[in-house]
Symmetry: C2
Subunit: 361 residues, 2 copies
Amino acid sequence: MKTLVVELGARSYPIYIGAGLLEQDEPLAGHVAGRRVLVVTNETVAPLYLDKVTARLERFAPVAVVLPDGEQYKTLADLNRIFDALLGQRLDRRTTLVALGGGVVGDMTGFAAAIYQRGVSFIQIPTTLLAQVDSSVGGKTGVNHPLGKNMIGAFHQPRCVVIDIDTLNTLPDKELSAGLAEVIKYGLIRDTEFFGWLESNVDRLLARDPETLGFAIERSCRNKAAVVAADEMERGQRALLNLGHTFGHAIETGMGYGSWLHGEAVAAGMVVAAELSRRLGWLGAKDAARVGALLRRAHLPTQVPAGLGADRMLELMSVDKKVEDGQLRLILLKGIGDAVIRSDVPRAAIVEALDFCGAGG
Amino acid sequence: MKTLVVELGARSYPIYIGAGLLEQDEPLAGHVAGRRVLVVTNETVAPLYLDKVTARLERFAPVAVVLPDGEQYKTLADLNRIFDALLGQRLDRRTTLVALGGGVVGDMTGFAAAIYQRGVSFIQIPTTLLAQVDSSVGGKTGVNHPLGKNMIGAFHQPRCVVIDIDTLNTLPDKELSAGLAEVIKYGLIRDTEFFGWLESNVDRLLARDPETLGFAIERSCRNKAAVVAADEMERGQRALLNLGHTFGHAIETGMGYGSWLHGEAVAAGMVVAAELSRRLGWLGAKDAARVGALLRRAHLPTQVPAGLGADRMLELMSVDKKVEDGQLRLILLKGIGDAVIRSDVPRAAIVEALDFCGAGG
């Protein structure tokens, strides 16, 4: 088992990465605060891992809530199911919530923990690659609104993250690929060497070689932890983690939540960002091509869906959290491993890049 | 105009108290952060003060949301109306929410501000006595759940509180009395002299004498600000502000939100707390009688509703936020102006005090 630490002063916490971690009580049970536990999971993950996790936490008399599976259920109304369970079972402030599942379960459970009785503890047990390398680390929690992704939420850090690599054995191929989009993102924004390693190892990752997956997860978490430690509340460089996300969120919202996986939308969004960077003269054509090539090898989409025109994409992007005083902030590339935040990109350039990448096509 | 400051380091903020404050742009407009404003109010307050407030904030192109009036609408579902307005109008992170109304509007607006895009600024303009002396100060925000009051929420401090005493001219008598319950509370928990002053001045307060009301509001806010500054997150003495509230919340939940005003329920709850304190030998019979007498003179209820038996009250209290590890924490009195937190009160004593105060009667 490897242990990384997200350094956030009094709110620092460990990330445990290893095989078979759900077969043993520690480190999970040792991080429970209080006397009771509520496990939040979904109907896909519950039959696979819920009994295992509740067995680990038996001394806390665990109770479970099983949510429907899918981004379309990441709503304020569905969040209420968690509160119904907490209050129905009379679970008080000294309860720890445990998120067992992918990004949706993790974001909703963390948000419920942030606002239940004005804040209780929670633990992340991510079971998808995307959640393991990205959403379970860093304390961003929340739900969607019909008009925008993650528009309602809070910063709330978990007490620990337990990543059992064995859970990837039950992950559908499509979801494995979606997770790889966020893995590739770290290479693009701040880790040139890792990007090169991914170009050499993407096939082994798709074949689920445990050692290769373990390395990619650890390296991704290291990158995420470093960025979050430097800028927890996203006042500056944490925004770099949003490469491809402004375009991606527009795709997810525009196509209807649950129609594209988050990682798929981010992949297409990163291609638009690379293409826009190339058009603005910051990224060489060869490097821009490497971005699309690696994503394609990971079986990820590299085109904006034809149904969404550039105008509709821009309209959807205008409500993104990266907008300030009406000015769109975009993450762009100056090279592989070198991202920048720009608020001065001409609308015409964005439209051209979107058109080139398939929007309105 | 008087100015008090809630001392919370970087999150310190002023409370302005005076007559005619809604007739002038400052101090209100100077505290807006960002470029836009959303005013949240309700259908009772909107016809009285909304035009006035939007006129003060004209340079921020204010938009308004008008919520239905009443505690029964303080729900997660109704909160969504605020997000619908924010996103429908494409208001981004650099928006300030303004709460114009009583405690329900203030709690909901503050909570919406706490979780919109993971946190935006807000300003309190309380228009009921209860909101002016209590709920608008201190950063507790949230909504109710059918099984418990204020169970979903966050700590989120406003940028300022603007108390225009003139707004009390339109307040129904019943609501004025409800506000007096919280005013009297400050005397009971930490300000013996103020309690004596209230015994001498309660009739002038009910007659809405502006000077007398102004003094009571200022003194109440001073007490609240001091407690909040010492213990923002309620790790210790802030809990004293909950005198009567554990019983009161049970009454509100048990009778159905909106049936009793919050201040009315707190008044009855304070009588139970005083009676329980007397039975435990901490409060003299004469002082216990003074509590009930002053509340009655303020036209407040001093009996638990007959429909709620002691067992049902205890069941409702068991989900209160003051419960930890299944142990009920109660605020009790050792004298007028001297409150304590106790977790060791025998259930039988609570039942007797509840029975004596009308529950099950």
